[in-house]
């Protein structure tokens, strides 16, 4: 039925992950509502070219993620304690696997970055005087991003999952992707401090 089953599956997976934030009694219904919108988006003939439908479906899922975050914060979901118990009553894993969601988010960012760079190269490289400078811009951007990541690792008091030097190696080997992975997974940002229990 769908033109892009893989895209649909990815988007569905993202929506499912987002829905786990909701209390168990609303989760199933909301999830069904939102995944049912995907065929309409992916088969929307008014959007050209088809690639834009893919982007739209992914943007839709990202919006659902924002929605569930907002809904779970609002009074709709009740107090934190009742939410926790409702989560457990739902029979699903208590929370979205933090790591999986972060990896997915990192991959989406990576895809967007690569798509942007490819567009930049084609737009700049097919002018009346094709030259190598678009490539240089891209390389400069990549190096700049990497330097930012390395600096962040160097300054961080703590990084997640791997040792600092391993993150440095990953950042250097996989130029754009490594840095994005570090920022999405490995970074201990100020917004998510390490709980004291794991520090001692």
């Amino acid at each position: 039925m769908s033109r892009a089953p893989a895209v649909r599956r990815i988007a569905e997976w993202l929506i499912h992950a987002a829905c786990r934030r909701l209390p168990a009694d609303e989760r199933g219904e909301r999830c069904r509502e939102w995944t049912a919108e995907l065929p309409a988006i992916l088969d929307d003939e008014s959007v050209h070219p088809p690639f834009r439908r893919t982007l739209r479906a992914l943007a839709f899922s990202a919006g659902i993620s924002r929605t569930t975050r907002r809904l779970s914060r609002s009074s709709l979901a009740g107090s934190r304690r009742t939410r926790e118990s409702q989560w457990r009553a739902g029979g699903l894993p208590a929370r979205p696997s933090d790591l999986a969601v972060r990896v997915a988010r990192g991959l989406v960012v990576w895809l967007v970055v690569v798509a942007g760079l490819v567009t930049l190269i084609t737009v700049l490289g097919t002018g009346p005087h094709p030259s190598t400078w678009p490539l240089l811009i891209v390389v400069a951007l990549g190096v700049g991003f990497d330097v930012y990541c390395l600096e962040d690792i160097a300054r961080a008091a703590e990084v997640r999952y791997l040792r600092k030097w391993l993150w440095v190696v990953i950042c250097l080997i996989q130029m754009p992707l490594g840095g994005i992975l570090y920022l999405s997974i490995g970074r201990v940002g100020p917004a998510r401090p390490v709980p004291p229990s794991s520090l001692s």
Binding site: M1, E29, R32, E33, W34, T35, A36, E37, P39, A40, I41, D44, A59, F60, A62, G63, I64, S65, R66, T67, R70, L71, S74, L76
Partner: protein, 111 residues
């Protein structure tokens, strides 16, 4: 109910034909809003009793498409929406004012 820019757009779409059933993507396109803005708003309107939702009947010609959820204004919702829209258009410069103050339950009121 305080009228923000996005809320105003959604209400305009809904009031245009109060009997019509809208599904989420339909409203997103008509009001030109991202899903992250639209759905929290729909949830709030529904909680306030201004919006009613129902599941689509599974039709054999749907080609295996999952049933959608459709939204429609309640009688109270249509009344309130018309009132608020009329009030917003009556106030000169109201756009700027409503954009400056975030509505209850939404984040930011920017257009």
């Amino acid at each position: 109910m305080k009228l923000t820019g996005p809320l105003e757009r959604v209400l305009k779409v809904l009031v245009a034909d109060p009997a019509a059933q809208h599904y989420g993507y339909d409203l997103m396109k008509a009001a030109r809003l991202p899903s992250g803005t639209l759905y929290p708003m729909l949830a709030r309107l529904q909680q306030e009793g201004l919006l009613d939702s129902q599941w689509e009947e599974q039709r054999p010609d749907a080609g295996g498409r999952p049933p959608r959820k459709y939204y429609r204004l309640t009688a109270e919702g249509a009344r309130v929406a018309r009132l608020e829209l009329a009030r917003a258009s009556a106030e000169p410069g109201s756009k700027r004012n409503v954009a400056a103050r975030p509505a209850h339950g939404t984040q930011g009121g920017a257009l």
